[in-house]
């Protein structure tokens, strides 16, 4: 057995172990947990790069826990899709951690720091677990770990974050319940929890009402977690009041991993055969996505609080990914668009939330209307914000343009022309609400503060540890935008398409 085949279990095992070690270390020294979690996640990044290499050169990794063969034992499966997602998750967690160092010092009282990083590490472990596992029930365990820690991390901010956090606990628990109900019913019909096994057994029982019900419940459950319209109501408050680091991490990776559960269910458990079995199901998904895209954007236009605007924008962007999934039975480009947008939105929205946090920390600004002259006062954060916003709008050559291109091509390929209009219209709506911010930052007239002391006091430069992640993400938005246009990602995309059994390659 090759070494890389042991890595999946090492990633989750070490992450969990590290989380508890960190708690102990936190008693010794309050500053220790941060460095421990940073080191741990850097290690995970290296491991996951090896995994990606292995997956692309050798093939999917299957790891049997304790040597128990599936379908009895728990199986960890890493194919191209997981490996790709894993790298996104790890990189975003690392960048988020680097950013959080100084941001957390500002936003959260010192005595909570140790537990904060322990929770972040636990959440990361949960996310890695969801990404890696090949077992439906095991996925539920990791889902709960990732969700419970997220509830706590939101509540850490205290004050106004408490009510949204409570709201999220209720809604998230309902979602998790729905998911586990679905799993139970599937188990009662098929007698297995292993995804690969279930995929083979399910086609025989597509018309079984319990299976259909299970599908509906799991989809709705995950949709709550991934705040797909109209199940998004908990989300704007949470993103607005959570600590900036957590908003950034949740918008960039937490929700992507939640969505990944949906992706796995569609392609690896129920398979496209199930979706095609019920005429109109794919179109239903597409239309839900289309409404999410438009409604999210329109609400975002109404917002004045920057973070809340970004929250609504996220709802709209999750619609893009869902639209890609909905189009995928008709065109492989749909899945390409969804897969590409998972990365592109993670980079863009992560960067946007980080700069929103930086504005709040440096200048105390949360309301867009007060952003006059911000482009001069905080040039780097504003530049990062602008580039990420352009990516969200989909201006070439940024990453958002590539996903828009894939999704438009998918709509044309699938002969679903209304969605082309939806995508183009949404780009314009994005323009409206992001451009308003850019206008305020750079072009609105503002009066220079006369008091020199005030300037000096406020003019403290943003720490490098906060600027660097933002600028890295912003430049990645452009670099990835160019890379998506080239044929470099083609092998990865083809692997993902074949691993998810699309039956076609590009």
């Amino acid at each position: 057995m090759l070494l890389a085949e042991q890595f999946p279990v090492l990633i989750v095992g070490l992450s969990m172990f590290m989380a508890y070690t960190m708690l102990l270390a936190g008693y010794l020294n309050r500053r220790l947990p941060f460095y421990m979690t940073l080191a741990m996640n850097s290690l995970v990044l290296i491991l996951s790069l090896f995994i990606l290499n292995h997956v692309l050169t050798v093939g999917p990794i299957r790891y049997w826990q304790g040597g128990w063969r599936p379908p009895w034992g728990i199986e960890y499966v890493v194919d191209a899709m997981n490996a790709y997602l894993l790298i996104i998750v790890v990189s975003m967690v690392i960048l988020g951690l680097i950013y959080s160092k100084r941001n957390v010092e500002y936003e959260i009282e010192a005595r909570k720091h140790a537990t904060f990083y322990v929770l972040v590490q636990l959440m990361a472990a949960g996310l890695y677990g969801i990404t890696i596992t090949g077992d439906l029930f095991n996925m539920f365990i990791w889902l709960e770990i990732a969700s419970l820690t997220a509830y706590a991390l939101i509540a850490v901010a205290g004050g106004r974050a408490l009510r949204p956090a409570y709201n999220y606990v209720i809604m998230g628990s309902i979602g998790a319940c729905f998911y586990i109900f679905g799993v139970c019913w599937l188990y009662s019909v098929t007698g297995t929890l292993n995804m690969a096994d279930m995929r083979l057994l399910l086609p025989l029982v597509y018309d079984n009402k319990a299976v259909q019900m299970a599908f509906a419940m799991m989809v709705v459950g995950v949709m709550i977690k991934a705040y797909i319209f109209p199940l998004h109501l908990w989300q704007p408050d949470v993103y607005t009041y959570a600590p900036s680091t957590i908003s950034s991490m949740m918008a960039s990776v937490h929700v992507k991993v939640m969505f990944y559960i949906l992706l796995r269910m569609f392609y690896s458990v129920f398979t496209l055969g199930f979706i095609e079995h019920f005429i109109g199901l794919d179109m239903l998904i597409c239309w839900v996505a289309a409404i999410a895209i438009l409604v999210g954007s329109i609400w975002a236009i109404k917002q004045r609080n920057l973070k809340r605007m970004l929250a609504y924008s996220s709802i709209s962007q999750m619609g893009y990914i869902l639209l890609g999934v909905g189009l995928s039975p008709l065109s492989p480009w749909g899945l390409v668009g969804a897969v590409a947008h998972i990365l592109n939105h993670a980079m863009g929205k992560g960067c946007l939330f980080m700069s929103a946090g930086a504005f709040a920390q440096q200048e105390g600004l949360r309301d867009i209307r007060n952003f006059e002259g911000l482009g001069k006062k905080m040039p780097y954060a504003s530049a990062a914000f602008t580039i990420a916003a352009l990516s969200m709008i989909g201006i070439p050559p940024t990453a958002g343009f590539a996903s828009k291109l894939f999704l438009i091509l998918a709509s044309l390929d699938a002969a679903q022309y209304p969605f082309v209009a939806v995508l183009l219209l949404s780009g314009l709506l994005n323009l409206v609400y992001f451009w308003r911010v850019i206008d305020q930052m750079y072009f609105a007239k503002h009066e220079e503060p006369k008091d020199a002391a005030e300037v000096k006091e406020k003019g403290k430069a943003l720490p490098l540890s906060m600027v660097a992640p933002m600028l890295i993400l912003a430049s990645l938005c452009i670099i990835m935008g160019i890379i998506w246009l080239t044929d470099i990602p083609l092998p990865l995309i083809n692997h993902i398409l074949s691993n998810l059994r699309m039956g076609v390659t590009l």
Partner: protein, 500 residues
Amino acid sequence: MELMTPLFVILCPLIAAALILPSRKHPNLREGWTIAASAATFLLVLSMAPEILKGETINFILFQSMFKGVYIGFKVDAFGEIFAITASSLWFLVSIYSIGYMRTLKEHAQTRYYFAFCFAILGAMGVALSANLVTMFIFFEIITVSTYPLVIHEQTPEALRAGHKYLAYLMPAGAFLLFGIMTTYYLTGTTDFTPGGIKSLANASQLVAIALFFTFLLGFMKAAWMPFHSWLPTAMVAPTPVSALLHAVAVVKAGVFGIVRIVCYVYGVDLMHELNLWLILAIIASFTMIVGSFFAIAQDDLKKRLAYSTISQLSYIILGASLLTENGIRGAMLHIPFHGYMKITLFLCAGAIMVATGKRKISEMAGIGKTMPVTMLAFSIAALGMIGIPPVAGFISKFYLCLGAWAVESPYGMIFLAVILISSLLDVVYFFPIIYTAFFKKPAGEISASGEGKIKEAPLLMVVPLTITAIFSIIFFVYPNMFYIFDLVKMAIGDIFGGV
């Protein structure tokens, strides 16, 4: 022929932009970068012309894209080279002019201005050199975004409103263009510019082909065809060099360039005939020519009048292309550089008047010909060219346009010939009063004796470029092959009509 030159042409403004930002504390150095980059760009572009005249295209593939049959890269053919030469040579002159203009008026945020300017030129160059619609779209959007800071440069509420209007027109246009491009790719499997048109487009159903054509027209709203023109006069709040280069040459010409690309290199002459699209396009162009001129007559603000004149003149190019005759397209292609040089002279004069006297309205310009003789002489030359009077370049392109209309094998040809002539007449109506006011009208208010007859020109950095462009407007009449323009046009015509 594989050459790196197109890449270097694109890199020049990019490097300049990268150098401008750190040297914001040293204005001379900052402007030095702009001038160096513009000179380098122009020379690089010009160095490609001899190769192209040998009948080759200069290809440079940046990378293959994920889409089968689409690559991102450059293919410089004769037509692209014409636009590239026009834009890059004028960029050099306008850079010099900008220094005089911005410094005399003590404008704020000059670094942002030069930075955005570089990106706008990068976009224009990219549009000129790109090999297919996808590459072209990328640069098109770069133009749109990078010109926004230039339009709202003053940052007054009026400027911001103008900027929003600008985006409100051009961003949806970008969406239409993207839709058109993706549909073309979906229908034909390619987006490459092919002289004589993409053959497999003819297999699409007629309705789809016609709808697609309208999508493209909407996508090229940058060409300011009526009724989608009103962003252009509004954008005149921008500093004059911006209006001059971008809203007389780079941006609007990019739109017109795109339309000619679609007509001659995507649809092709045969398909345009078969679907009768040429007639629709010609009617739109004629409408714009006549109505644009009427609007121009009504303006008192000099820059606004020039803007409407631009709208009208751009449609000469569209009309010439839509006639689908050799001479028509020749006239259209010649009008791109010729109109560029003449219109930029007019705008530069308007800016010089503004800097020297602070006057914007034509009615205030009585007697200005006496105080600013060089500027107004240049203005008169360019205005004569606009009307189409020899010995200025405008005569040649209009002459070919008339020949093109004459050669159309349908009774409509006469109508379009009449439209060109009437529009030229209207040009007289709106340009002549300016010249008359400037030279022959006595200033209304009695000015002090000391001010009478004193020459008070704008700074030399502004007067020299506008004199050069005026002189070139005449040179192009005497020697149309300056910068290889005439040969390149001949080459392009040969490509489109299959070497006839």
